[in-house]
Homo-oligomer: 197 residues x 2
Amino acid sequence: MTTLFNNQTVIAEPVLAVIAHMPTASLPVLMGDDFSRRLSDADFMRIAALLAQKSYDEGGCPIGAVIVDNESGRIVGKGHNTLVQENHPYNHGETAAIRDAGRIDFGRTTLFTSLSPCEICAALVHMRGFARVVVGDVTNASGTEPLLRARGVRVDILEDKRAIELYARFRTEKPDLDREDWIGAGAVGRPVGSSQS
Amino acid sequence: MTTLFNNQTVIAEPVLAVIAHMPTASLPVLMGDDFSRRLSDADFMRIAALLAQKSYDEGGCPIGAVIVDNESGRIVGKGHNTLVQENHPYNHGETAAIRDAGRIDFGRTTLFTSLSPCEICAALVHMRGFARVVVGDVTNASGTEPLLRARGVRVDILEDKRAIELYARFRTEKPDLDREDWIGAGAVGRPVGSSQS
């Protein structure tokens, strides 16, 4: 099949933005494996960061993630935090991408996350046997990398300057949302049941 | 409002089954706070076990959970494992109930789970600041209870005989599903992307 990106020689931001926003199951209409293999780690991280930007633009927490099959280079899952968008008390970038990927063998994949994983996501990552995690921001948060390495996950840091700037801006603009996203609504005095009123 | 269960004097299995299956937001058509306050810990655990039974009947993993507001006795969230039903690689009983509850202060609630929490759910439980967890089965699985206690969560064991029997039967009937639910599809040789074909 001839796909839109077949003859794309420069992998520019608008191309990565289209990949970020396209549903994962529909990615084959954009690109084949030849194109996927030309995407670099920095490109995948940019896609995760563009998913973070999408969430920010929706009024949510700017954290995104992408899961790539190590052999084919295909994107098999992606997503972003939906604390605000889905009223979801723990759906971070990583959990969103893993949910999107479904029941696959994560041991043959790499997870790109725009922000250092929290403890919940770190437990999920090692329990689902990821081969490798690439972290785009250890400036605004960090701490689970040693745990992941101790559990046999390869962890690489590949900071994305704009992802770091975006998260820092969000934290300044909405400190309560940032705090709730890490340690729950109790931390910001939200009463039981208030989300349902 | 007069509700269906207002004059219910005996809290029998069919009553608990209706509570288990009714969407959380619709529970007020069944019962008011007077009735909720008459439910015992064993009743809440039975509701979690009936959610596990629902999942089993759907061909899924039999694990259920219920979240109760400590002050009012109201059920504020509930759910069951959806590995099979939603092609969801980590939605356990606890994560399902927490997702159902939404953005509330879990520090004022108790989580009833029909099976001992896995490492992911244990991390989620202490990161979301639950006051108390009641575990209905430490026979088929256990291990995170000391971690939870060390993180300040009160953990009580209240085994439900039929929940234990149901999980043991499931494990005998579908050992691969049991294994995938705990440590991922890689453990049972599922290839990358196979869930999407």
